[in-house]
């Protein structure tokens, strides 16, 4: 037996010990990251040593992957993220607009008409007139509060959208950076962990925004929007920018793009898309409708009020200063608003008030349809009856569809918001279950099972011990060989 062949026992044993130690390192890494979200279980793949001398080495460390699941997750994360953010954006409004199960503004409108009805029995009584005017003031106050609630939430969403865009840009930059590291890796360098981090970042991005992922041969990925606009290509990142061209619109741009056109609302997707949809569509539409309703109602009421006579027999002269409702928007005149002018209508619900001149002197309310200063008719309720009829009128101007009665319009606003939240809730549940299921499959295929790792550890430990035994045997044999020479 040659000394070389005897010494080969040492090299074989050494390679085995080294390899098993590497394997134990891999197992240790797996155990340490057992609960790390996005971590893929690594396997040390053993192979016969490539130097021709026998022995074992770690060929490569591979990650368990579930590519089909990842593609599906990208889609469903987008859907779930959209509905979740939209639900979160709209739910706070519902709580503010309703109390004890009743829509607050609708309740005030009901009270206003109730007092008007009651006043028809005693239109000349100043106490009853004052009571009616107080109800009118409460109603206008709640028009304003409802409008403020909606617009404050819209303002909050604006800030959230800005914050979301910043976070998305950070994530895009991280993906770009990790792509760069992957692309720049040396031949044979272990980039499994970097790829895992990159894929985890992509998965989180898919919840924030709707994206498509294009896998490249160099193991980098290209991230594009749903309409194909590039966000990340290799190490190059095209960041997003949020703009606010007018009060009712938030627009998402990619400044690097040659065209300055913003992304379509439908293209954005994910949580950002949910916030933009809630801002641009649900909230802005309802604010506009509320303003339109207020403007239409104020105009119809004022026009009828103009036909009447006050308790002192004076006819309302038709000037805006004698209007019952005033609208002090920045573009409207102090007392009146043109419901066909969208600039004047904007803010009408916030600005509508009962004319202070009438509040200060309730006898100026024109409840009568006749009389004169010489022969006043304080007990005449003819014009008041016609004012009450406005409740049943369809206030037609300015809506995209047919005209609406005031109460129907208010109910529609409440119902639309409720429906948007309800749909978002149900869709979130449905898409959430899909995401949950996919995550479950993903973690099942890619995740770490401690029981499995313990078995691997035991195996590596025993192999390591066996290798040390071989080396000890080799040492004994070597000593024996050396003792023969003496």
């Amino acid at each position: 037996m040659s000394i070389q062949k005897t010494s080969s026992l040492f090299s074989l044993g050494r390679s085995a010990m080294f390899t098993q130690r590497q394997k134990m390192n891999t197992v240790q890494n797996n155990i340490s990251n057992a609960s790390t979200p996005g971590y893929r279980r690594k396997e040390a793949v053993l192979q016969t040593s490539s130097d021709g001398m026998g022995g074992v080495e770690v060929g490569n460390t591979r990650s368990r992957k579930a590519p089909f699941v990842q593609d599906q997750l990208t889609f469903w994360n987008d859907q779930a993220g959209f509905h979740e953010e939209k639900k979160k954006a709209l739910e706070p409004i519902e709580a503010s607009l309703n109390a004890d199960g009743e829509n607050i503004l609708q309740g005030r409108v009901n009270e206003f008409f109730k007092k008007a009805q009651s006043l028809t029995a005693s239109p000349g009584e100043s106490v009853d007139r004052r009571d009616f005017l107080n109800r009118a003031k409460e109603m206008t106050t709640h028009f304003s509060r409802t409008r403020s609630t909606l617009s404050r939430q819209r303002e909050t969403l604006r800030k959230q959208i800005g914050g979301k865009v910043e976070k998305i840009n950070q994530r895009l930059n991280k993906i770009g950076q990790l792509n760069g590291q992957i692309d720049g890796a040396r031949e044979g360098q272990n980039i499994g962990d970097v790829v895992d981090q990159r894929d985890q970042a992509v998965e989180k991005l898919s919840k924030q925004m709707g994206i498509d992922v294009v896998k490249k041969e160099d193991k980098t990925v290209q991230i594009v929007t749903k309409n194909g606009n590039s966000l990340v290509e290799g190490g190059t990142v095209h960041e997003l920018e949020a703009k606010n061209p007018d009060a009712s619109t938030m627009a998402i741009h990619i400044p690097d793009r040659p065209s300055d056109k913003p992304l379509d609302d439908s293209e954005i997707g994910g949580g950002l898309g949910g916030l933009v949809d809630a801002h641009n569509n649900t909230l802005s539409d309802q604010i506009r409708d509320l303003d339109q309703l207020a403007a239409n109602f104020a105009k119809a009421f004022n026009e009828q009020h103009e036909q009447g006579y006050d308790a002192n027999g004076n006819q309302v002269d038709g000037t805006p200063q004698q209007n019952f409702f005033t609208v002090n928007s920045s573009s409207a005149s102090e007392y009146s608003v043109d419901p066909t002018d969208s600039a004047e209508v904007q803010g009408a619900a916030r600005e509508i008030e009962v004319n202070q001149v009438i509040v200060d002197d309730p006898s100026k309310f024109a409840a009568a349809d006749g009389g004169s200063p010489a022969e006043p008719e304080p007990g005449n309720n003819g014009n008041l009856q016609k004012l009450l009829d406005i409740r049943e009128q369809k206030l037609g101007t300015g809506f995209s569809g047919p005209g609406k009665k005031l109460e129907d319009g208010l109910r529609e606003i409440n119902t639309t918001i409720g429906q948007a939240i309800s749909t978002a809730k149900h869709e979130k549940e449905t898409t959430g279950r899909m995401v949950e299921q996919l995550n479950s499959i993903e973690t099942s295929q890619e995740g770490v099972s401690l029981e499995e790792e313990m078995m691997e550890l035991n195996e590596a430990q025993r192999a390591f011990q066996a290798a040390t035994k071989v080396m000890r045997s080799g040492e004994e044999m070597f000593k024996s060989l050396l003792s023969i020479k003496r």
């Binding site: 109730k114 028809t120 007990g379 009856q385 009450l388 109460e407 109910r411 119902t415 995740g447 099972s449």
Partner: protein, 322 residues
């Protein structure tokens, strides 16, 4: 299927969160007694509930205005009754002296004084107030419709205009016109006729005009006849007293009819309110037994899940000790 650490954790956390959410939902429903609290709970049902609530409030407003007006009408009814009784006394005096050829000057003077007092009583009735407003003043209820002489002081061109009050959908009730009842203003549609410019009897009759009797004029003539010893004049007014009493009686009947209309309208509205409340409750209210069962079920599920979480941990720890 491989069971991984992250998978186990996610699954358990998800189950616990779901059970907590279910428990919270069931508790909310049980404690409020409502299954539809916000529009997002059931948008369609909520819209129906709001419609029913609006309709209920509307009917309640009809009831309120009706009851308010009813009090005014009851006051008018009492006043008309008082006036009718007074006129009855006047008739008796007129009949006694009208048919007695030698009543005696002193007795006639006493009778004339009694007629004057009767006129004051009828005047008080005609100027009756309710909550500071003249119930027979029509639309000019701030000022007394009749002066101390019994002359109508209201808007002469609008003598018959009264206030109408809506007490239900399409149902209106009116005030009683003092000008018509006490001053005999014509029952007319447009154009209205002035009180002190009645139509010429020689004119062809207008189907819309029926000239009534001025009660105060009648009493003035009786008083004058008694003071002058002109018992023929007194006798001639007995028919007018009868007509006046008829006017008052018809007005009382009309008031009674108006009050009945208000009562029927109130009953109708109350029935609607009851039905609406029932429908609203069907849409909105929760089944308490069902909600209580769900609370119990959700509580049990939550307890079971947390116990399972504990057992899973024990199994893992046991394995790791091998």
């Amino acid at each position: 299927m491989r069971v991984t650490e992250l998978g186990k954790k996610r699954s358990l956390v998800k189950r616990i969160k779901t059970n907590q959410a279910n428990l919270q939902e069931a508790v909310e429903e049980l404690s409020t007694g409502k299954k539809v609290r916000e529009p997002s709970d059931d948008p369609i049902a909520k819209e129906m509930i709001e419609r029913l609530r609006s309709a209920t409030k509307r009917h309640k407003s009809f009831i309120e205005s009706g009851q308010k007006f009813k009090q005014q009408l009851k006051t008018s009814e009492d006043a008309l009754g008082s006036a009718e009784n007074a006129l009855q006394n006047a008739k008796e005096i007129a009949m006694d002296f009208g048919n007695d050829p030698n009543p005696g000057a002193a007795n006639a003077e006493v009778a004339a004084d009694r007629i004057a007092k009767i006129k004051d009583t009828v005047l008080d009735a005609a100027n009756t107030k309710y909550r500071g407003k003249y119930v027979f003043g029509g639309v000019q209820d701030d000022s007394a419709p009749f002066n101390e002489h019994g002359d109508y002081t209201g808007d002469k061109s609008e003598a018959t205009e009264v206030r109408s009050v809506t007490v239900s959908y399409k149902t209106q009730v009116d005030q009683i016109s003092g000008a018509k009842v006490f001053a005999g203003a014509p029952y007319t549609s447009s154009p209205p006729t002035e009180v002190d410019n009645p139509p010429d009897p020689s004119d062809p009759p207008n189907e819309y005009q029926t000239q009534g009797t001025n009660i105060f004029d009648t009493l003035d003539k009786i008083e004058a006849g008694l003071r002058n010893g002109n018992h023929e004049q007194v006798r001639d007014q007995i028919d007018n007293i009868d007509k006046g009493m008829d006017q008052l009686n018809q007005a009382r009947e009309r008031v009674g009819y108006q009050i009945q209309t208000i009562n029927h309208a109130k009953n109708f509205s109350e029935n609607i309110v009851l039905k609406n409340t029932e429908q609203k409750s069907n849409l909105e209210a929760t089944d308490v037994a069902d909600a209580a069962t769900r609370v119990q079920t959700a509580t049990n599920a939550l307890e079971a899940t947390t116990q399972v979480a504990g057992k899973v941990k024990q199994v893992s720890q046991s394995f790791l000790k091998l």
